[in-house]
Symmetry: C2
Subunit: 284 residues, 2 copies
């Protein structure tokens, strides 16, 4: 496995791979790798000839008051883990390499980027779109693998890929969960043991709500109220948002139809840590 730190070298490598007709799978991450990331690598290894993982804590997707500085970083451990799972290249540029002085380009995706997570974290998805556009151009992947945990992010990126005509195919991988049901997240290191137990109830609430929907609950407002009421019962949890929407474009019809795929999306503070989670529900 090779660790690449400059854009120039990474671009050259991906260009050589293209010339050799190798397909490239790309796993963009902010490091602090867990099984969610590893699942993306495994899928990439199954899909493409070569797997490139990026490890870059992207400052443009953090607001000034957010946790950019304290976001967990352990590049040594990340490299070991990636090596173990046969990742071919790690691209780990510095902030200065990605955003040199005087950098002034921005990408805005209105609509889907303004809802839910976008409303709570203004500018977040612009920062995500920007870094992902850059990485797509640098890595030139045939397939790009994203985790379902950041579901809205994937909807935003798919829209950008479609509208800016990027060539990569976006592949969505299911959420990796601990046995307790807690969604794996690099931010889980912020949680105390008690907070982890409390946070694991989020999954139970979503499962219960899913069952109600499968049993016939179709009114969005009632689903949202149910979600909020159930989440409110969890100790030491403060809801940021908890909603049901159509999975394809995150639109919010009054009543869901029998053939819709619904997504439950939520964000909440458990203690001081902000967690997000979601669940897809395919109606029949």
């Amino acid at each position: 496995m090779e660790v690449v730190t400059t854009i120039e070298e990474m671009s050259k490598i991906s260009e050589e791979l293209k010339k050799k007709n190798k397909t490239v799978g790309f796993v963009p991450t902010m490091g602090a790798l867990h099984m969610g990331h590893i699942n993306l690598c495994i899928r990439s290894k199954q899909t493409a000839d070569i797997t490139i993982m990026s490890v870059f804590v992207n400052p443009t997707q953090f607001a000034p008051h957010e946790d950019f500085n304290k976001y967990p970083r352990d590049i040594k451990k990340d490299i070991e883990l990636a090596k173990k799972y046969n990742v071919d290249y790690i691209f780990a540029p510095t902030v200065e390499e990605m955003y040199p002085d005087g950098f002034s380009t921005n990408i805005f995706i209105s609509g889907v980027a303004d809802l839910f997570e976008g409303a709570k974290r203004p500018g977040h998805f612009n920062g995500v779109a920007l870094v992902v556009a850059k990485l797509f151009n640098i890595v030139n992947p045939d397939y790009s693998f994203f985790g379902q945990k950041d579901y809205q992010q994937v909807v935003v990126i798919k829209k950008m890929v479609s509208e800016l005509n990027f060539r990569t195919k976006i592949v969505l991988e299911p959420i990796a969960r601990l046995e307790s049901g807690l969604a794996m997240s690099s931010r889980n290191v912020y949680l105390t043991e008690t907070e982890k137990i409390n946070a694991s109830n989020i999954y139970k609430v979503m499962l219960e709500t899913k069952r109600l929907i499968e049993d016939g609950l179709r009114t969005r407002k009632t689903i949202n109220e149910t979600l909020v009421n159930k989440l409110s019962e969890i100790s030491d949890l403060k809801i940021d948002y908890a909603v049901a929407a159509l999975s394809k474009d995150l639109s919010e019809p009054e009543i869901f139809e029998n053939k819709d795929e619904i997504i439950i999306l939520m964000a909440a503070y458990v203690g001081k840590t902000r967690l997000i989670d979601n669940m897809l529900i395919q109606l029949n």
Copy 2:
């Protein structure tokens, strides 16, 4: 020569060309081709294996009050001319193909896109950046050829290419001029014969100013005043802006240094037609 109208087909063709290790030269145009465009094609033919020209009057770079609807269009003549100069592919999509319903992605490049032409035509360079980013992803060119007449556009695009890490190399071609000195432009069809004669004096003013600079004039304010005074003497001409700046980033130092490359940039209405022109001056 093949005329391609869908993004899917154009993407497939450019992907096949890459697989065959062909280099691709790209000439983006809004059609209504003149020798300025043809020069770009000739240069592309000299540089790359395959030349792809796009013909697309891009609505997102026109403000509502501007001339999008009456902008000259003659795709038949454009195709004939491109064929004559051995262009390999013309990409001529519809507006609906490029901007389907619900399109919501935007690219902003602050700083250089806000000056001069960008200040007079707010949003113009965002629209240019957007369509060029899309075209780069669709055509995947090794070289992209732009005319110096839209000099600020080239500075903006170079900044986008650098900051979003596009792989294409930007090549600048000199302004094609009529014998009178008038810069060739698709918008020249709007001019009457008298207006053409008046407009040709723009070139003379820039040449005179260039000589003054070469003879030692270095104070930006004085250069700008000279430009404005001389342009004001042209019949039926209304200055929109006329400035000297550094060619590399369009910054405006008080005094130019002896090793600078200066650019004179101007826009003016001749009758009802808005024309732009510029001149590069390399100091020694």
